[in-house]
């Protein structure tokens, strides 16, 4: 029998023990959390509101002798002050909620296999409400439909693609960060000044103002860079002759870049990327890996005039063995067209235009119900 060693690298099977012992261990842990939360909440409520508060305080002061004078004082302060009461109350409620909810969820999953639960979830998700455009064809499971991509008709080609991330939204977010931080800094500055004026200077806060000012300057410069990028780099237009894309087919692409720009390099690429989401401890992390990069166009030392945008007609040849777009809860395969520029004096920019690749269409075999 091999004993589990939590401090060594996990090898072999994902589970070290049996499934039943795992359920029992989790249930015990969550039940303990729930009960401890109930105990702490009840203790605080009795101390605050109940008649037993005097009895409990006396018992604690008697039970905690002179050997722990600090603990007795801390208990008394925590129970006496309103802030301590609310902190312990909120923590207790959180423990009750987490312990109770998690234990209930874990116990509900006992006796049902993973496949059975997923089957029920799939059936619930497949319930469709009648709509005007409901079609009789079965959709492609786990493939994004990409209806938003074909909402806008193009001028040169069939569809104008929408950018995946708006530069204006990013600029607004950075502006909000910079303004909030600097506003908070000025509030702290007012507190420090009022302290000096009243003859009670706050030295710690005064010294803290210097590093805070450095962060504020950095945030404001970051905001200015984003503003310059948004204002200087004009609109990027990408149009495509067909959508969704299919492996082994060719599509026409039209790319236009407006603005007053002097670019060292402008590149248009077709990219296929894997994206996974996983938990590492308490963090949720996302990892990405580019599977395929096809450079469609590269221009160097380019000058763009506001009256004459840069325009280029390109062609996409999708490989016949290309993987279709895929999205599930934690994993995805994404396709996109990327327009990136190395600009001077403006900061470099990179815009993504998501596209969706479907597997080759085949009429679905229908069976009578």
């Amino acid at each position: 029998m091999r004993f589990p060693k939590p401090w060594t690298k996990k090898r072999g099977k994902r589970l070290l023990g049996g499934a039943l012992s795992g359920v029992v261990g989790e249930s015990v842990f969550y039940a303990s959390l729930l009960l401890f939360g109930v105990f702490a909440l009840a203790l605080m409520l009795f101390q605050r509101f109940g008649n037993a508060s005097r009895f409990v305080s006396d018992s604690i002061s008697e039970a905690v002798p002179e050997a722990f004078p600090g603990a007795a004082a801390a208990t008394g302060e925590a129970s006496a002050s309103g802030l301590g009461f609310w902190i312990v109350t909120v923590l207790s409620v959180a423990m009750i909620a987490v312990g109770g909810g998690a234990m209930l969820y874990r116990l509900l999953s006992v006796g049902a296999s993973n496949e059975r639960r997923k089957m029920f979830a799939s059936r619930a998700a497949s319930i469709e409400f009648p709509s005007a455009d409901a079609s009789d064809t079965q959709p492609l499971p786990s493939i994004p439909r990409g209806r938003g991509v074909t909402d806008s008709p193009g001028v040169r080609l069939a569809y104008r693609l929408a950018s995946g991330g708006s530069m204006a939204r990013r600029t607004i977010a950075i502006a909000a960060l910079a303004l909030l931080w600097n506003a908070a800094w000025f509030v702290l500055l007012a507190v420090v000044v009022s302290g000096f004026l009243s003859g009670h200077p706050r030295w710690v806060l005064t010294f803290l103002l210097f590093p805070f000012a450095g962060i504020g300057v950095w945030a404001f410069r970051y905001f200015l860079d984003a503003l310059r990028q948004t204002a200087g780099v004009g609109a990027t237009i990408v149009e495509i002759s067909g959508h969704p894309l299919h492996p082994g087919r060719s599509y026409d692409l039209f790319v236009a870049q407006a603005g007053r720009l002097s670019l060292r390099r402008l590149r248009v690429e077709l990219i296929c990327e894997e994206e996974t989401m996983f938990r590492q401890g308490t963090d949720v992390r996302i990892d990405r890996h580019i599977v395929l990069t096809k450079i469609l166009c590269t221009e160097r030392d380019l000058s763009i005039d506001p009256h004459r945008p840069w325009e280029q007609e390109l062609e996409i040849d999708l490989p016949a063995d290309a993987m279709h777009s895929f999205r599930s809860a934690h994993n995805a395969v994404c396709w996109r067209i990327t327009v990136s520029g190395d600009a001077r004096p403006w900061p470099s920019f990179c815009l993504n235009f998501p596209v969706f690749v479907h597997p080759p269409a085949r009429p679905q075999v229908r069976r009578p119900r």
Binding site: L140, M323, V365
Partner: protein, 126 residues
């Protein structure tokens, strides 16, 4: 499995047979047969059941576990089997046997779901 190479085209039927040997009906309290895909790799596992059949202890009384039973379903058009760097998509037929005293026995037979080799005419969404 009905194909020796284990490759099945998306949108076409899958036919497979299963049977359970070396066990008595008294030991078995439940049986599940499912056709499903799941992901492997760096990310958390995703799982989707395409076809699912379950027998409880009463229904198992009428079932001869030692003889072959058929699984017949039409495979979906997606997702096809995929061998990537961070993500791998696996298809399989999984049989889960519930025995007395909470014991379980799981076995699975992997297969490949591949896309059509014929050129596409149109998308079903268009």
């Amino acid at each position: 499995m009905c194909r020796a190479d284990g490759k099945y085209e998306a949108g076409l039927p899958l036919r497979a047979y299963w049977r359970v040997g070396q066990t008595t009906i008294d030991e078995v309290v439940g049986l599940e047969v499912s056709v499903l895909w799941y992901t492997e790799g760096k990310g958390d596992e995703d799982l989707h059941v395409h076809h699912f059949v379950r027998w409880n202890d009463m229904q198992l009384q009428d079932l001869d576990l030692n003889s072959a039973h058929e699984i017949d379903c039409v495979l979906p058009l997606s997702p096809v089997s995929y061998e990537g760097t961070l993500i791998r998509i696996r298809w399989c037929v999984r049989v889960r046997l519930f025995r007395s005293a909470g014991r379980e026995c799981v076995t699975q037979q992997p297969f490949y779901l591949v896309g059509s080799l014929e050129p596409a005419e149109s998308s079903i969404y268009s």
